[in-house]
């Protein structure tokens, strides 16, 4: 019963999304263009002048693009699981309404993560199209690198939702973005290899989903063969998604059906 009704939750979210889709699709394309221009082309020209052999043997733009793709997916996932969740629980109480129907707590949690995952996929796909336009990777490789991005975004959506259902005060969420999401973007191998970080902090970067997602996306985008590490990263991301999803259930039950 839980899974088919999760699809109903997705259906409802899609209906809600329909009223803002234009703006969201536009941003989906605009963001990667701006970021790739500023960092990849602008900053990248300076970096390339300093590193004739390139980063991982490629230009900075090529190096950066899959990283940014994953970072964007990560941020999309995080924002899908943040204020929307607080609104649904506290302000609008629309989740209370859903749970008064045959939908169970499991069904609702799975549906919400599933929908977040679809949103991440949409944003990642537009990013991949921009990558193709910028010529940083072939169409196949660009689209292939979406897969780890979706995985990272889904894990983040689940993790952020698990956090947001516990949060009483939405200012806690701002802290979460400031001290978890932003640092994860800056220091997890998106903009530069984590080997540039001080030794003691590298293990922390290694634990973030972004690091593993970037490793995978870069491997795919640069057309490299998978390494042993790739399989570790993949396993890690899948496990993280499942664990975070599972962590939503109990606080959600306590909060919404006390």
């Amino acid at each position: 019963m839980a899974i088919p009704l999760s699809v109903r939750v997705v259906e409802a979210e899609l209906r809600i999304y329909r009223r803002t889709w234009r703006g969201s699709v536009f941003t989906g394309f605009l963001n990667p263009v701006l970021y790739l221009l500023a960092f990849g082309v602008g900053l990248g020209t300076l970096i390339d002048a300093n590193l004739p052999e390139g980063l991982d043997g490629v230009s900075y733009l090529t190096y950066l693009a899959p990283g940014l793709l994953v970072a964007t997916a990560m941020q999309t996932g995080a924002s899908e699981g943040a204020w929307k969740v607080i609104a649904a629980i506290k302000w609008r109480q629309t989740w209370h309404a859903r749970l008064a129907t045959p939908i169970s707590v499991h069904g609702l949690a799975i549906g919400q993560v599933l929908w977040s995952s679809i949103r991440v996929a949409m944003v990642s796909a537009s990013f991949a199209i921009v990558m193709i336009v910028f010529g940083v990777a072939s169409p196949l490789e660009s689209l292939g690198s979406i897969l780890p991005a979706i995985l990272v975004g889904t894990a983040m959506a689940a993790g952020t939702t698990a956090f947001a259902v516990r949060v009483r005060d939405d200012s806690t969420l701002s802290m979460y973005f400031r001290f978890v999401v932003v640092p994860m973007f800056l220091f997890s191998g998106v903009l530069f290899p984590i080997t540039q970080l001080p030794d003691w902090i590298q293990p922390v970067a290694y634990l973030t989903p972004v690091f593993h997602g970037v490793e995978l996306a870069r491997t795919i985008a640069l057309g490299l063969p998978p390494l042993v590490n790739s399989w570790i990263s993949l396993t890690y991301l899948v496990a993280l998604t499942i664990i975070c999803g599972w962590l939503i259930i109990s606080p959600m039950r306590q909060r919404l059906t006390p």
């Binding site: 259906e11 409802a12 209906r15 008064a100 129907t101």
Partner: protein, 308 residues
């Protein structure tokens, strides 16, 4: 009548140390409109939520439509219509979309759903607002959308938590009219309210709750007969006067109530009571004779102290 739709025995709900519902027993029969009356914090909403299978019971037993809410929550909820205290509609969506989304949670097929939405919107008299955003509707209209939403799955049991709180008199009467129609169709209704007129208008039978317990049970008429004399004489005096003549007033009846500016004398013979008042030489500013109401019963049973 041997097979009640709802049967609760020793039903208890605790939140930590706080006892919200304290071992209550009640049964609701098929087709009746059953009320839970009580001041804020009496445990009405907690009871509703347990019946609605969105809050697990702490102790006792509860069967709703022959199902155990703990074990068969989704199956039970598929047969319930729920109107919560807060409308919790999606304000940014239209009336139609709200109802549509909700209906889909019950797995109702799209074609059937469109038909049903048209019927329900007509039933709550919002046909011309069907494509308006909920945000733009008045409080009474939003409530009617929520009433319609609760009927989307053609429920066997319709549960309304304070359906008319916060509405203006016109909107309240319009809603009562709709609920009365549902009642006539034979739908079993459960209503919580702290409006006595609402309970008198709609409920066949009700329980009065206070501090988690049931303190009285019966039809509105029965409750008035059992718990209070037939009539009330309200005597209004200038502030301060009652402090000195309170003793005399208390002699008028077994049951009197002295408030700051008026005295309520419960009596079966109001004319005689008024005659005695004048014989005593008391000169109230106004004298009002009226029938006892459910409100008198309610205040007697749950006290006049403000709860919050």
């Amino acid at each position: 009548m041997s097979n009640p739709l709802i049967k609760a025995t020793g039903l208890t709900k605790r939140f930590g140390d706080f006892v919200a519902v304290d071992g209550i027993d009640f049964e609701v029969e098929q087709g009746e409109t059953f009320g839970f009356l009580g001041p804020n914090g009496a445990g009405k909403t907690s009871t509703m939520r347990m019946i609605s299978a969105v809050s697990p019971i702490t102790e006792g037993s509860l069967s709703v439509l022959g199902l155990d809410p703990a074990k068969e929550g989704p199956r039970l909820r598929s047969r319930l219509g729920i109107v919560p205290q807060e409308n919790n509609l999606d304000d940014e969506l239209t009336v139609r979309d709200n109802l549509y989304m909700y209906g889909r949670y019950f797995d109702i097929a799209k074609s059937e759903l469109n038909e049903r939405i048209a019927e329900l919107v007509e039933f709550v008299q919002l046909t011309e607002k069907i494509d308006a955003k909920v945000d733009a509707l008045s409080g009474g209209m939003k409530r009617r959308v929520t009433i319609a939403r609760g009927l989307i799955n053609d429920p066997d049991l319709y549960i309304l938590d304070e359906p008319t709180t916060g509405l203006d008199p016109q909107a309240r009467h319009a809603l009562w009219d709709r609920l009365y129609r549902l009642k006539q169709r034979g739908i079993t209704l459960i209503i919580t309210t702290h409006y006595m007129d609402e309970a008198e208008q709609l409920c066949d039978r009700l329980v009065v709750m206070d501090k988690g317990k049931i303190v009285a049970e019966g039809s509105p008429r029965q409750l008035i007969e059992i718990h209070t004399p037939r009539d009330v004489v309200e005597l209004r005096f200038p502030i301060g006067v009652l402090e000195t003549i309170g003793g005399q007033i208390r002699e008028l009846s077994d049951r009197t109530e002295i408030l700051a500016d008026r005295a309520l004398v419960y009596t079966d013979d109001p004319d005689r009571t008024v005659a005695i008042v004048h014989a005593y030489g008391l000169e109230p500013e106004t004298v009002l004779e009226r029938r006892s109401s459910l409100e008198d019963v309610f205040l007697r049973l749950t006290g006049r102290t403000l709860v919050d």
